[in-house]
Subunit: 296 residues, 2 copies
């Protein structure tokens, strides 16, 4: 990717984004003691689609900091978007911040540690900077174009894209860890998202030869309750495969930045008509993603 | 539970167990950089049932320390047991250490952070001390009879059994986080464990009224790849419900100790014939467990 922003400016933006993610994570930690399953959230689409005051406060903190420091940059945040009228894809070629103040809100309301703040920075439709911070785990995943992808800014093992990541198993998806989420659509209808997802998950889990030849015998099926954390762990190589449908840009912008800088692959989750065609990189906004970790 | 070991001796054993778990965790961290998916493990029952040299070395470290410090105590460890001839239930009324040196071996081989060492101490069939340490998360869950259950020895929020745990939702299992594992049995047969498990998981996930009235609309379905971690988070109240079949004593001894001391409930996962009968506490060795977190 040929970025019109000079590297030294990009490095400065990267340092700012890391600092901002840590500040946002601190606020999340302060708020977690106040959780109360029956009271602190508002249901959105249904009883498992939540937003809390914390989501809004953290987004406000991030948005204010960005608009003060970089007033010419565009901003797209989950909560800002939800309050707006438009449902169009809003990212153009301009430098744009794409932010999820709290991914894994259900986890957050239960003090289950798989929640995070996600800050992506996009230029010419390419996510050039990504920072994901899970404060209860104190795990900060980050990347900047040409600067590599890192866990906890090089302080902690395993570093991303280092020898600690083994080769992809020769008979993948066997021996792979597959991450997936059950999602918010819980309608019990045969062609609904719930049943279609579970069919796919079962195919990956079942023994080789099972499921009409589709059995993948993956090492493990993991569901963390945060697509952003799934993607961060895929970038790190702890998860080998992740797919999800219905993601918004703020769910994946930072994670895709980190995964790409770590050498991973992200494409659409629908198989192409021609299985031998070149794999197309995914476009942000496609809603349907398949990510594969870096293969040494 | 009326423990024949005086409290001051129990406190000493508790401190020893915590120290031992930290030492074992340190060894796990040292070994994680050496992982290589294709080489370092041995398959047991099938391609997803693993044991590594690390499992054996960590058990050896723990067993040696215990036998040196408490030569009269019995010891039951996963790897020791696997090498033995007997398949009988081996815990009697004597003071017995029950140890899983590495739960979540698949996660460990992928550097996915949900793996842990689990050390339980059982007297008269009751788990009186439990220590679970997840070194990559630096989360240590622990309990001792009459001493409460704690995360990171009181240093970190949320503490177990503190106001940060909200009430159980009034319409549970809705609004609950449900933890479950896909397991190692991946045979694609309709009455096999894989399909029976997924049927149960689907019931809990589906909308209210769905699945022939069985739909539970839980907040989230989580699979971490470690029954021990599932149970630790249930003790903490981050997970509300967990069930599992086929667990061994070392998978659950420490977790049950912590859950019980935190005020949680653990029983068999098969519903009784009489739904109004008193709920019986589970017996270690029953293999089939249902755990519910503490309800304030």
């Amino acid at each position: 990717m040929n970025c019109p922003i000079p590297q030294d400016q990009l490095d400065e933006i990267y340092a700012f984004a890391i600092d901002l993610a840590r500040k946002a994570g601190k606020l999340l930690l302060e708020r977690i003691g106040e959780r109360n399953v029956d009271q602190i959230y508002t249901e959105k689409e249904n009883a498992v689609d939540l937003v809390t005051q914390t989501d809004e406060d953290v987004e406000s903190l991030i948005k204010t900091a960005i608009q003060t420091k970089y007033p010419t940059h565009m901003f797209l945040g989950e909560e800002t978007y939800a309050k707006g009228q438009s449902r169009e894809y809003l990212i153009d070629e301009q430098p744009t911040w794409c932010v999820d103040p709290l991914d894994g809100t259900v986890n957050f309301t239960h003090a289950f540690p798989m929640f995070c703040v996600s800050i992506g920075f996009i230029v010419n439709h390419y996510p050039v900077i990504g920072v994901i911070y899970a404060p209860l785990l104190d795990q900060l995943f980050s990347s900047c174009l040409n600067r590599g992808a890192w866990l906890n800014e090089k302080r902690q093992l395993p570093l991303i894209r280092k020898p600690s990541i083994p080769p992809m198993p020769s008979n993948a998806p066997s021996k792979c860890i597959f991450a997936c989420e059950w999602g918010k659509d819980r309608r019990d209808i045969s062609d609904g998202n719930l049943h279609r997802k579970i069919e796919s998950f079962l195919n990956l889990a079942a023994e080789r030869g099972g499921r009409g030849g589709k059995g993948g015998m993956v090492h493990g099926v993991r569901s963390l309750g945060s697509a952003t954390m799934d993607l961060a762990y895929t970038a790190m190589g702890s998860v080998d495969i992740w797919w999800e449908g219905g993601c918004w840009e703020w769910d994946v912008a930072a994670g895709i930045a980190i995964l790409l800088e770590a050498g991973g692959l992200v494409t659409t989750a629908n198989p192409p008509d021609d299985l031998h065609a070149p794999i197309e990189p995914v476009k942000l906004g496609s809603r349907l993603y398949l990510a594969i970790r870096w293969v040494p």
